[in-house]
């Protein structure tokens, strides 16, 4: 499964909620305000760092650039919309709205 998170981890629980339902093969994709979770050195960085112990985490490039995020957590993979399409092709998507 591809878990899609589009909310800031600072103000919304979507990412934390999703983490209770993750298989080891599952992938997490951060889009829209969800990409703030990929920023390094924040009080919420631990969430993605923990996720990365078992799962692959992607973040959408266009959203990262729009938000001016430069220091990302290592091992978070950056993808563009075409990569997003590939991820959907490979996994059933679930949006954690």
């Amino acid at each position: 499964m591809l878990h899609i998170i589009n909310k800031s981890p600072f103000m919304n629980s979507a990412l934390e909620d999703c983490m209770g339902y993750l298989g080891s093969e599952d992938i997490v994709l951060l889009i829209e305000d969800g990409v703030y979770a990929a920023a390094a050195g924040t009080v919420k960085s631990g969430l993605i760092e923990k996720l990365l112990e078992q799962n692959e985490v992607y973040a959408l490039q266009a959203d990262i650039k729009a938000r001016g995020l430069e220091q990302l957590i290592k091992k978070v993979k950056i993808t563009d919309y075409e990569g997003f399409v590939d991820l959907i092709e490979q996994h059933t998507p679930q949006s954690w709205l």
Binding site: E32, A62, E82, V85, I88, E89, T92, P93, L97
Partner: protein, 118 residues
């Protein structure tokens, strides 16, 4: 892959509409088939024809109209539209109004369905 896209939020207000559009463009570029776009909830606001955004901004209903022109099936949920007063006479061309059954059909016909919302 046959892909259907559900959009639950309105234009400009929420990035959901942009994410959906950009994803569809990328899917088309990669040769996938867009089985349909279904506007539900505030998504129905995406196709109002009187939009006049600032000149340096994207024109969201025109974008959807152009996708419709290319033959992509763009469906506006009638129940969500009626409640909000978004009826066909104020909608852009190349989109159609239909019921939630259309969403069910898209699910039956697609390999993947993705939801964008808030």
């Amino acid at each position: 892959m046959k892909l259907s896209v559900v959009v639950l939020e309105g234009p400009y207000t929420h990035e959901a509409s942009d994410s959906a559009y950009n994803l569809i463009q990328a899917a088309l570029k990669k040769g996938h088939e867009i089985n349909g776009v279904f506007f539900y909830h505030d998504g129905v606001y995406n196709v109002t024809k009187f939009m006049e955004p600032p000149q340096d901004d994207r024109h969201i209903s025109r974008r959807w109209m152009e996708l419709g022109e290319k033959g992509i099936d763009i469906v506006v949920c009638i129940a969500a539209g009626l409640r909000r007063g978004i009826v066909d006479k104020i909608q852009t061309s190349n989109v159609r109004i239909s019921g939630l059954g259309q969403l069910a059909k898209m699910i039956l016909e697609s390999d993947r369905v993705i939801v964008f919302g808030d």
